[in-house]
């Protein structure tokens, strides 16, 4: 009887005979502007995420998350295991490209203000995906356990430890003790290979579902439609193959390298993190601790909640399209300057 009720509800909502089957979802019509590449940037990180899951799984077969074995096992993967260097290289470049394309995607959405009403949930799930991806990047390069990883772990966990109230428990939670130790490595390994991937997978799925349910942004002038399958799927497939070729080439040209092993007694002379943390790294170098910490947290919060900020400002009559262009350009400018500064120091 329960099924009868739900059937009646479905039929109440839609004209009889029009209930959707999965074919309709697969052949859903997509607006024409999705043919233009800036509007397809979201599918690229999705492809890369898949590649990361596969190569990541492969790497866990050799990686040992203990302070005396971690570095050694990565050395083994890189130098001894058949195609180990290749798998590790693909994993590394996929992260780089995933973050890069997520950033492009965010910039596109930000500039076109595609997060406006009904799109808020798209933005929020997407922005959390970006933050979790950063967390994956951090935990991932910590696992290498070279000197940059070790001091990176120290610095990042101390930074979180400076938070009021939650700071100290959080520090102990992440480090598994007072100091960065084998326990820390194990915890970051668990985060990187279990908790965060599940979270990220869920968020990505949620983001895609929300995008399908809420629909794509209306772009003026984009009238005609093309079906998701086969046209759009073909396009995405072509992009995925292109990406794969690009990554394979990059790995061949720049095979993965390994820095000097972690040394808790001496800080490496160059502790610059991977490029995607380079800007925040310079930020905390240039500004006093609390200012740097709070400004980064504030920026992250503002970023996630931006659609609501936009709505409030629009009500006050602010020209948001122009403001977004200015803010976007300013942020990109600052980030680039910080990154250049990092290479100089």
């Amino acid at each position: 009887m329960a099924s009868e009720v739900s059937q009646a509800q479905v039929e109440g909502d839609q004209p009889v005979g029009q209930s959707k089957s999965w074919i309709d979802y697969i052949q859903k019509d997509l607006p024409e502007h999705l043919d233009w590449w800036p509007y397809t940037l979201g599918a690229i990180p999705l492809t890369l995420f898949g590649l990361l899951v596969i190569t990541g799984l492969l790497l866990t077969f050799y990686y040992v998350p203990s302070p005396d074995k971690a570095y050694e096992s990565i050395e083994q993967i890189t130098n001894e295991v058949y195609l180990g260097w290749f798998v590790r290289g693909v994993h590394k470049f996929s992260v780089d490209l995933m973050i890069l394309f997520l950033l492009f995607h965010v910039i596109r959405v930000f500039l076109t203000r595609a997060y406006q009403a009904a799109g808020e949930l798209k933005w929020i799930t997407g922005s959390v995906v970006l933050l979790v991806t950063f967390a994956m990047g951090f935990t991932g390069y910590s696992l290498v356990y070279d000197n940059v990883s070790y001091w990176g772990m120290t610095v990042v966990t101390s930074m979180l430890g400076n938070l009021p109230l939650v700071g100290t428990p959080l520090l102990y939670l992440l480090r598994g003790g007072e100091e960065v130790s084998g326990g820390t490595l194990l915890r970051l390994y668990d985060l990187h290979t279990k908790l965060l991937p599940v979270l990220l997978g869920g968020l990505v799925l949620g983001h895609v579902i929300v995008v399908r349910l809420v629909g794509f942004v209306d772009v003026p002038g984009s009238r005609s439609f093309h079906p998701f399958y086969p046209e759009h799927t073909m396009l995405m497939g072509a992009v995925a193959v292109g990406l794969l070729v690009l990554i394979v080439d990059l790995v061949m040209i720049f095979p993965p390298v390994l820095g000097p092993p972690a040394n808790p007694q001496e800080v490496a002379s160059d502790v610059s993190p991977p490029w995607y943390f380079s800007a925040p790294y310079m930020w905390i170098t240039l500004l006093p601790g609390p200012v740097a910490l709070w400004s980064l947290l504030g920026a992250a919060g503002l970023f996630v909640l931006y659609p609501f900020v936009d709505r409030i400002l629009v009500q006050r009559g602010w020209p948001m399209a122009i403001i977004n262009a200015v803010v976007g350009a300013a942020v990109v400018g600052v980030v680039v300057v910080l990154m250049i500064l990092d290479t100089r120091m």
């Binding site: 102990y172 598994g176 609390p290």
Partner: protein
């Protein structure tokens, strides 16, 4: 199966509310306990004096780096005597090293600089380096592991 749709009376609502809160409280406590499980408790603080040797072991104007049961310290000898500093940078916990030419402690992580008295003079560090007390008994120097 017939469902009886009677109005949820006050009693019923209250009893459900109490049960609901009880359940939430129970689950919340459990979650809290699980988090407590994950947060290790701080180990006991060890206090005591550690022999570091004769004063002459530390050359003038130089700093000797020691690891005393997890405390990484630098024992520095200047005209004013012997002082022991924690190597832990007060910014975000990297290790500082002594630069003899500049007579400063430098932190490579974010270019923090401390002078020879441990004062933070440049970069992000918010406060001076932690100091350990150095006691001299006869010819021997001891560092008491309990920052001052």
């Amino acid at each position: 199966m017939a469902v009886i749709h009677d109005d949820i009376g006050r009693r019923r609502f209250l009893s459900q509310a109490v049960m609901g809160f009880g359940l939430l409280f129970g689950l919340g406590t459990l979650a809290l306990r699980f988090i407590q499980f994950l947060v290790p408790s701080p180990g006991p603080k060890r206090v005591g004096a550690v022999l570091i040797g004769a004063e002459s072991r530390v050359p003038m104007g130089e700093a000797v780096s020691l690891d005393l049961s997890g405390h990484k310290i630098l024992v520095l000898r200047t005209d004013e005597g012997v002082v022991a500093f924690s190597r832990r940078c007060t910014d975000l916990g990297c290790l500082v090293s002594w630069n003899k030419e500049r007579e400063q402690f430098l932190c490579p992580c974010h270019q923090g600089v401390f002078d020879k008295t441990g004062r933070n003079i440049a970069g992000p560090p918010p406060r001076p380096l932690d100091r350990f007390e150095v006691v001299k008994r006869g010819e021997h120097l001891y560092v008491s592991i309990q920052s001052v």
